[in-house]
Symmetry: C2
C-alpha cells in the first residue's frame, strides 16, 4: 500500500549464527553487489559493466520481473504474469487462456489494459536528506515528515515527465535511502502466450514443487508512440541444452522478505497474521471453487482469481510450515542469540516485544479495514476491483485537497501518475465475481472483528453482507472507465455529489478506516520503525556491511548454480524434459496436456529440457526473472520455487532453497513446434 514504507524491511539475517550471508544467499542491490565474492564462489568473471547491462535488460512488469530479449522491445516473462492481461483481453467466446495467444504479425499484438513496464536507469543516495527530515521527531510526526520528504525528492527528480518514475526506497530499515529512477512504458502489448494448461500443467498440485513440467513463459513488447521501443541493450537468447553446475544470475524484483524479524515478531506472524490470512483465504477459495462449478461462464470468470488465490495460499502454507518447523526455528533462535550477545547493552528487542501485544490486537482490524500492514495478505474489499477503484476515487479526491506533503503518501504528487493509469485502465469487470468478493470480505470482517464492534456496525449498518454486497455491485457504474475518469477529474466536489452507491459507501466508511490506520501507525508502525532502525545499526556494527537489505519489491540480483536437490523427501536432479511431461499426463485436469501442445508431440524432441532448478535466492515477485549466465545470455525465466523454499521469507536455508525455471529451450520449442511463432524465433536470433 505504501510504496515508501515497507513495514518489515530490514537488513538480512543469515541463518548461520554469527556469520554474514552464506555462499549463495542474498538478494543484492545492483549498487552493492558482491562482485568479487560471487566470482570467487562461482568461478565467474563478471564486472560492473556486466551488472549495468543486466540491470538495463531487466524489466519490472506489474508485480513480476522480466527480461528484454531482442532489440525491438521484446520481453520474456511468465505466463502467470500475463494471466490478468490475457483474461482482460478474452471473452468466454474468444478465450486466449484456453487457446493461447499467437499473433501472426506484430500488428496483431494486443495492448494489455493498464499494463506498464519499467527499467531501472539510476540509483542515487538520498540518505542524508531523509535522515535530516526526520531528525528530532517522534511517532507519527516522524513517519509523516519522512513520507513528505520522500514525496518531495521524487517530485523534484521526476515531475512533469510521464516516462520517468521516481521512488525513494528505504533499505536496511532506514539505514539507507536510495532514489530509484525508472524509465516507464505504459503501452505494453501481449506478443505471445501459450495455452494456459501448457503453462499451468499440474495446477495448484504441482505449484511450488519439482519435478515440474510447465511452459510458464510469455512475451510482451514495449511500445512507445505506437512503435516498438528500440532496445539495443538486451539479453542474448541462448536455447542450448543447460548444463548442471552452470553458474547463473537471476535479476528481478523480489517482493518482500522479513529476515530480520525478531523471534517475538515472528511469533506474531505465526500466531496471528498467517492463521487469519490463510483461514479466510481458504474460505474464499471454497466459495470460488463452487462458484466456478456453477456454469461455464463462471468457470471462465473465476479461473484467474482462483489461480492467484491458490498461489498465495500455498505460499502461506509454506510459511506456516517454516514457522512451525522446530529445526528451522531453532536456527533462527540461535542466530538471534548470537546477535544479541554481540549487541551489548542495547535492547531494541524489548521494544519490539512490547509492540507485539498491540500488533496482535490490531492486526485483524488493520488488515481487513485498511490493509498495508506489510505483514500479511488480507486487504479491504476482498480484492474487489470495483471497491478498489471506489476507494481510490474517494481517497484520491480527499487527499488531493491537501498539499502533497500532508497527504497519505500513496497520493503524493509523485505517485499520482501511477494511480491514474491503474484507475483509467479499460478492463472487464464481472459483477458476479465482485459480489462474491465483497460478500466474503464483509462477512469475514464481521466475524473477525465481531458483530458488536462499532466499526462493523459502521460497515454494515442494518444490512447483511449478502444484501449490502448485492446492492453495491448492482448499483454502481464504476465499471465504466469514463465514469471513473469523470469522478477523478471532478475531484472532491464530484465525488461528494455522486450518487453511485459504492462511492457513497466508501465515503461513509472513511472515518473508521482512517482511524485504524492512524492507530496502527502510532502504536505499531512508528515504534517498530524506530526499534528496527536501531537494530539495523547494531547489525552493521556486529556483522559489517557485507549484508544485503531485505527484499522491497525493487531490482535485485541473486546468484547460484543449476542444481538439483538432495534432502529427504526432496531428491531430484535439476532437469525435467518433454518426455517426462508425456509420462506424467493423465488426461484429467490439471494433468491434461494442452491440446496444441499434445498435437505437437511428434515434432518436439522429448529430450528437450523443460524446467530446471537453481540454488539462487528468490521469492514471490521474482516471477519472470531472467536467468543469465556469465556471458549475459538468458537461459530461462524463474517462475516458481519449492514449497520448502517459502521459508526464505524469514531466512535463507541453503539445504532447501531452490528456484524453478522454464528454459529458453522449452520456450523455443513451444514457439516453433507448437504455436507457429517462427517470426519470434527469428527475432530471438535462433538459427
Amino acid at each position: 500500500m505504501r510504496n515508501l514504507q515497507i513495514t518489515l524491511t530490514a537488513i538480512a539475517l543469515t541463518l548461520a549464527a554469527g556469520s554474514a550471508a552464506q555462499a549463495e544467499e542474498g538478494m543484492w542491490t545492483f549498487d552493492n553487489f558482491p562482485i568479487a565474492r560471487a566470482n570467487q564462489t562461482l568461478g565467474t568473471n563478471i564486472d560492473q559493466a556486466w551488472l549495468d547491462r543486466v540491470r538495463l535488460s531487466s524489466v519490472k512488469f506489474g508485480g513480476c520481473s522480466a527480461g528484454i530479449v531482442s532489440g525491438e522491445g521484446l520481453v520474456m516473462t511468465n505466463n502467470h504474469c500475463v494471466a490478468t492481461c490475457v483474461a482482460n483481453l478474452s471473452t468466454p467466446e474468444v478465450n486466449y487462456s484456453e487457446t493461447g495467444f499467437a499473433p501472426r504479425t506484430r500488428e496483431d499484438e494486443l495492448k494489455c489494459p493498464g499494463g506498464s513496464a519499467e527499467i531501472l536507469t539510476d540509483i542515487s543516495d538520498v540518505t542524508e536528506r531523509m535522515h535530516a527530515a526526520g531528525a528530532g521527531l517522534e511517532g507519527q510526526a516522524f513517519t509523516q515528515a519522512r513520507d513528505a520528504e520522500a514525496g518531495r525528492i521524487e517530485q523534484e527528480a521526476c515531475a512533469g515527465d510521464a516516462t520517468i518514475r521516481c521512488q525513494v526506497v528505504s533499505l536496511y530499515r532506514g539505514g539507507q535511502f536510495k532514489l530509484y529512477k525508472y524509465r516507464r512504458y505504459t503501452d505494453v502489448r501481449l506478443a505471445w502466450a501459450p495455452e494456459d494448461p501448457a503453462a499451468t500443467f499440474g495446477g495448484d498440485l504441482d505449484n511450488f514443487s519439482f519435478p515440474r513440467f510447465a511452459i510458464d513463459a510469455a512475451f510482451i513488447r514495449l511500445y512507445e508512440n505506437g512503435q516498438p521501443v528500440a532496445t539495443p541493450t538486451h539479453f542474448k537468447w541462448n536455447a542450448d541444452r543447460p548444463v548442471e553446475g552452470t553458474p547463473v544470475f537471476v535479476a528481478g524484483s523480489p517482493g518482500a522478505t522479513q529476515r530480520l524479524l525478531t523471534q517475538d515478531q515472528l511469533m506474531t506472524v505465526r500466531d496471528v497474521v498467517l492463521p487469519m490470512d490463510q483461514l479466510i483465504a481458504s474460505e474464499l477459495r471454497g466459495r470460488l471453487i463452487r462458484f466456478s462449478e456453477e456454469s461455464e461462464e463462471n468457470a471462465f470468470i473465476a479461473m484467474d482469481p482462483i489461480v492467484g488465490l491458490e498461489n498465495t495460499y500455498k505460499r502461506g502454507l509454506g510459511r506456516m510450515r517454516a514457522l512451525t518447523d522446530p529445526a528451522f526455528m531453532t536456527m533462527k533462535a540461535e542466530a538471534e542469540a548470537d546477535f544479541r550477545a554481540r549487541a551489548g547493552a542495547a535492547d531494541p528487542w524489548s521494544e519490539l516485544a512490547a509492540v507485539q501485544p498491540v500488533a496482535r490486537e490490531l492486526y485483524p482490524a488493520m488488515a481487513l479495514l485498511e490493509g498495508g500492514t506489510g505483514m500479511g495478505t488480507t486487504s479491504p474489499g476482498g480484492n474487489s476491483q470495483l471497491f478498489s477503484w471506489a476507494r481510490t476515487l474517494v481517497r484520491g479526491a480527499q487527499e488531493r485537497e491537501k498539499p502533497s506533503a500532508e497527504r497519505l503518501p500513496e497520493y503524493a504528487d509523485s505517485r499520482l501518475a501511477a494511480v491514474q493509469s491503474g484507475l483509467f485502465a479499460e478492463r472487464p469487470v464481472y459483477p458476479s465475481l465482485e459480489q462474491v468478493r465483497l460478500e466474503w470480505w464483509l462477512s469475514k470482517t464481521r466475524e473477525w472483528l465481531t458483530v458488536d464492534d462499532p466499526r462493523v456496525r459502521g460497515l454494515l449498518g442494518r444490512e447483511s453482507p449478502e444484501g449490502l454486497s448485492a446492492r453495491l455491485v448492482e448499483g454502481t457504474t464504476l465499471a465504466d472507465p469514463a465514469v471513473r475518469r469523470a469522478l477523478w477529474e471532478g475531484g472532491l466536489a464530484a465525488v461528494e455529489a455522486s450518487e453511485d452507491p459504492l462511492i457513497r459507501y466508501l465515503l461513509s466508511i472513511q472515518d473508521e478506516t482512517r482511524a485504524i490506520r492512524s492507530e496502527w501507525e502510532t502504536r505499531v508502525q512508528a515504534p517498530t520503525d524506530r526499534a528496527s532502525e536501531q537494530l539495523a545499526a547494531l547489525r552493521f556494527r556486529a556483522y559489517g556491511d557485507s549484508v544485503y537489505p531485505d527484499a522491497t519489491g525493487t531490482l535485485r540480483l541473486t546468484y547460484g548454480k543449476i542444481e538439483g536437490s538432495d534432502v529427504p523427501g526432496q531428491r531430484w536432479g535439476p532437469f525435467t524434459t518433454f518426455a517426462g511431461l508425456w509420462d506424467r499426463a493423465t488426461g484429467a485436469p490439471p494433468f491434461d496436456v494442452a491440446p496444441k501442445l499434445l498435437a505437437a508431440r511428434d515434432r518436439i524432441d522429448g529430450d528437450t529440457v523443460m524446467n530446471m532448478t537453481l540454488s539462487s535466492d528468490t521469492i514471490g515477485g521474482s516471477s519472470g526473472s531472467p536467468v543469465v549466465n556469465e556471458a549475459g545470455e538468458i537461459l530461462g525465466a524463474n517462475f516458481d520455487s519449492t514449497v520448502l523454499t517459502q521459508r526464505n521469507a524469514y531466512g535463507y536455508d541453503p539445504n532447501v532453497n531452490r528456484s524453478v525455471i522454464v528454459t529458453t529451450g522449452a520456450v523455443t520449442a513451444a514457439l516453433r513446434d507448437v504455436y507457429g511463432m517462427e517470426r519470434l524465433v527469428e527475432e530471438l536470433g535462433v538459427e
Copy 2:
C-alpha cells in the same frame, strides 16, 4: 472412532502449578465426586443419594446431554441437539426447523430416525482384568489385547439384551478401567422444538459468546414398546427467576479434554492438527455457503451442515487462540515445570517428545484416510453419509469374518448393536450435498498428501475428485435402507459381490486406509499410551488422588455458581432477558426474531431471563446438560460456552471459563406464550 481408546485421555492437569483442582474446576465421575469439597465451596449439602438421583435423571442423547423432566419420559435437551432429527423429519415443503415442531397431542410426537438415548445405571471397576490382559505385552500387541479384553467384558455383561449397553471406559489414561452400564432406548421421539431462528438467534456470530438471546432448547420423549417410558426419577422443573450466586451442578457427558498433554504434544496440536483441520474446514465452509446460495432447496439442505461446521470451526478458533495465547501457555509451561520437578528421575516427557515428529508426519494421512486420531476433527469421506455407510458395510463385513477379539474394536460383538442401529436408520440423503463433501475430501486429501503419494493414486486412480465424487454419488443405491440392511446381513459375500460403486470403492481403498491406521497405532498410539500411563502414575504420586480424569464422552458432574464475567473485553452480568432480545434484533438474519416468537412479544414478560452464565467446567458434549440446584431442581440446559472458554480443552482457567445456559423460565415462556404447548407446561408441573 474407537469407543474404548480415547487417544488423549489423561488425568486432569490444573493450571495452577503445584495444586490439585481449583475451586470450581473438574469434570468429575459420579463414583468419585468430591462431595465434601463441593459442599464446602458452594455452601450446599448434597449427598450420595442426591448424586444417584441426578445420575439416573441424566441422559446421553447422541453426542449431547439431556435431563428427564417428567415422570412420562419427557427429556429436555438443546435445539441444536435435535437439529439433525428435525432436518431428517423435514422436507423443503414441511420444514420444521423453519416453523418449529409443536405437536398438538402426544400421539403427534415423531420418532427421530436413528435416535437413541441412554441412562447410566451402573459403574463397576474392571481395572484388574484390563491390566492383566496387557501385562508383559508391547506395541500393537498390547493395544489389541486390551481391546479384546474390553470387548469380552462388555459382551459378558450385556450380551443378548438390546436394552442394555456396556462400555469399558479408560480413565486416568489407563490408570483405571470402569465398566459403564447404560439403559438404552432406541425409540426417541421429538416432543417439541422451537423455530430454528429462535434457538439460533445471532447465528455463528453470537455462537460462543455472551450476552446471548437463544432459546436453544427442545424436548424429546423416551418410548419403549410404543409407550412413553415411566421415569419416576426425574428433575423437578423450576421456572423461577434465577438468582446470581446460586450454587449449581451440571450433569452431562463432556466429549474430550486434553489437559494432561505435555508441552510437546500441545505444540503438535498447535502446529499441525489445528491448522490443517481448520484450513480445510474453512474451505468446506466456503463451498457450502456458496452451495446454499444457489437455490432455496440447497439452502434447506445445507443449513444443518453449515451450522454444525461453523460450530466446530469456531471452537477450533478458540483453541488456536488458547494455544497461541502467551499468558495461557506460560501457565501451562509452569504447571509442567512444577510437575517435572516433583517427578524425579522418571521422564515420560522425553518419550512423548520423541513421538511428536512421527505424529506430525503421519497426522494428515491418518486424519484424512482413517480418522480416529483422537486429536482433531478431520475424518475420511468428508462426513459424507453415504461414504460412512459404505465404510461400515465393507469394514463390518470384513471384520465379522474374524473372532470378536481379533477385530477392529469398533466391530467387536458388544458394539455391533449400536453399529447396526446407525446403519439401518431411515434418514434422507441429499446427493448434491454428498457430492460436495466427497469432492472436497478427495481434493483436500490430494492436496495435503500431495498428488504423488501412492495412497492418493490409490484413492483417485486416473479420476479427478470432481469426476470420481460425481460417479460414486450418482451410482450408489446405499441411500435405500433396505439395500444397506441386505448388504449387512449378506456379510462379506454380499459386499464383495456388490456392484454398487461406493461399495466397490471402499473395498478398493481398504489396504491403504488400514495400513495408515496400523502405522499410526504402532508408531504414535502405542508409545503415547505407554508414556501417558506412566505420566498418570507419576501424577497420582505427585498430587494425590484428588484429581479428575480428562473428559471421555461419559457422564460427569461439574459445579459452579450463576455468575457473570469480569475480564477485559468480557464484562457482563449473568443474565439476559427477552427485552434484550427485542433490542438486539435488526430484522436481518441472523439477527431476525423468529416470526412466531416475534408475534408473541406482547404476551411475554420482557424481564424474563432468557440465558445465563455459570462458572462450571464444561466443554463440547456438555450441550443439553441439565443445570441443577441443591434441591435437584432443573434451572436450565447448558448450550454453549464463551470462545475464551474453549481453552478448557487444555486447561481450566477460572478467569474466563463460563458456560452459557438457556433457562427453564425462558423455555416455559416459549412453550406457553409462543408455541401453544400448554400440555407440556402442565406435564412439567408449572402452575
